[in-house]
Amino acid sequence: MVTMIDYSITIVGAFLAMCMFTTLYGKSSPLYALAEESYIGFGTGLTIVINAEYIWRTGIVNIMKGDYILILALILGAMILFRVHPKYNYVARIPIAIALGAQFGLSLRTIIFSGFIQQITASIVPLFGGDMVTMLYRWTIALSVIFMMTFFFYSIELTGPLATSAKIGEYFLYTAFGAIFAQTFMGRLGLFVGFMQSYTVPPWKKPILLAAMFIVFAIIVIMDRTGMLEKYTPVE
């Protein structure tokens, strides 16, 4: 049973989505501005809701339960608001320093393992034995890692064998870029196809999609031809 709410969601969604797609036309337009500001407006609203809820649930509720150390969070939060005060803005530096230090500690404590040690151990594999394909794979990976690494030395002049190695590394890198680009394209195409499909399945949505496409495209072309695009597009 398709309700009025389903219809309204599909109609508004399809129309705004097509407005957003008008960015591909290469010129900004009032329709794009409508979609953009809708998203920024509601998106900011969403950010407010999520953050307020977080402060309430993690901060206030726990303070009321007796976790008084969290009052410090509110004090620091209040201090950071001094940022906008022309005279006392230096008060905000302390909470920023604390946040910076803590977030840094959090990100730096694990990356030496996941990004360095584990990557080295994963590179150490048996190079002999197993079938031909496995061996080909392993040799290619091992050699690629080694050659690519030399391409990323910055503080020595690359001459002699090192220069050759760096050159080979660069070639390997571009070979990799081709494959990665293609994989990424498939992923993005999947997102686009999947999104369009959410407006073709179930079939009652198809006419709405077609209508939205046609109307938005027509408006853009007409506005462009008549010079209205420049006139009504917001200036920054």
């Binding site: 591909l24 290469g26 992923g187 999609l209």
Partner: protein, 280 residues
């Protein structure tokens, strides 16, 4: 049109043509599917084997680690996998790893109403939806060690005491984790469940394949389903054509179109640009 002006066109055409053609080749087949043949990759066969070896009464943790945009890409895999689980009469617990995803279970079960009825599924007895319970690593860790301590309610605030979830205590009590992901809490599930020994399968978006595949090779995951294409192949294997298969025409056309544009661009480059620059 002389040879040179054709080459010039190929070298310097407006990029909006690419946009327009891509839009049309994707939307066309979606509106009017053709049903071109596809092949099933070994990865998908392995995945199908893994999910269809579940038995009646097995307890399955079905995790949706995706935002809404990612759901569009992997929904065929989600629905097809869920159908297999329902047909095997398993107990299913759905948990999500993003606030946006709380609306997704509703969409999935809506598409499977027939199967739910046919197998006599009752909410609470046979399946439970938990909602946004995996915001960070700490929460996933506690789910794996003390499920009853970490989770007390379903997504609408009803107690889970009278459901099959009351039998779950640690990571050992799950028979399978089926993860559907754009990233998010998958690493946490990996650390706290799969690496300890809970069987786990993954269906990820295209961009994640490169980073997730090594875990299948090392035996941490039972199997991996790749992006929308894997979903389509799974639909084919389960014999329930759905959105994934319909999308494959658009997928094929999208790829071929890009290949044609690349070829045209290179023709233009050699036939025009390079000559203009004096063969530099």
């Amino acid at each position: 049109m002389s040879d040179n002006s054709l080459m010039k066109t190929l070298a310097t055409y407006d990029r909006r043509w690419v946009y327009l053609v891509l839009f049309l080749v994707v939307v066309g087949p979606l509106l009017q599917p053709i049903g071109m043949p596809i092949s099933v990759s070994p990865d998908t066969e392995q995945y199908y084997e893994a999910i269809s070896s579940v038995e009646e009464g097995d307890k399955i943790l079905f995790t949706l680690n995706t935002e809404f945009s990612g759901y569009n890409e992997i929904q065929s895999g989600i629905v097809a996998t869920m159908r297999v689980f329902i047909e095997h009469n398993t107990k299913i617990c759905v948990a999500v790893g993003h606030p946006e995803a709380t609306g997704i279970p509703e969409l999935v079960f809506k598409q499977l109403e027939e199967e739910l009825d046919a197998n006599g599924y009752v909410y609470g007895e046979d399946y439970v939806i938990l909602g946004y319970v995996m915001p960070n690593e700490a929460s996933v860790a506690s789910m794996s060690q003390d499920f009853q301590g970490a989770i007390t309610q379903d997504w609408l605030g009803r107690s889970i005491d009278d459901t099959f979830l009351s039998e779950i205590n640690t990571w050992e009590d799950w028979d399978l984790i089926a993860d559907f992901t754009t990233g998010l809490a998958t690493t946490f599930l990996l650390n706290h469940f799969a690496l300890r020994g809970t069987p786990m399968t993954v269906n990820c978006i295209g961009v994640m394949i490169a980073s997730q595949k090594p875990y299948v090779d090392s035996g941490v995951y039972l199997a991996i389903l790749q992006s929308m294409r894997g979903g389509a192949e799974l639909e084919f294997l389960t014999g329930h054509p759905g959105p994934g298969l319909t999308a494959m025409d658009a997928f094929t056309f999208g790829h071929y179109m890009l290949l044609l544009f690349i070829l045209a661009g290179n023709l233009g480059y050699y036939g025009y640009t390079k000559q203009q620059r004096g063969g530099r």
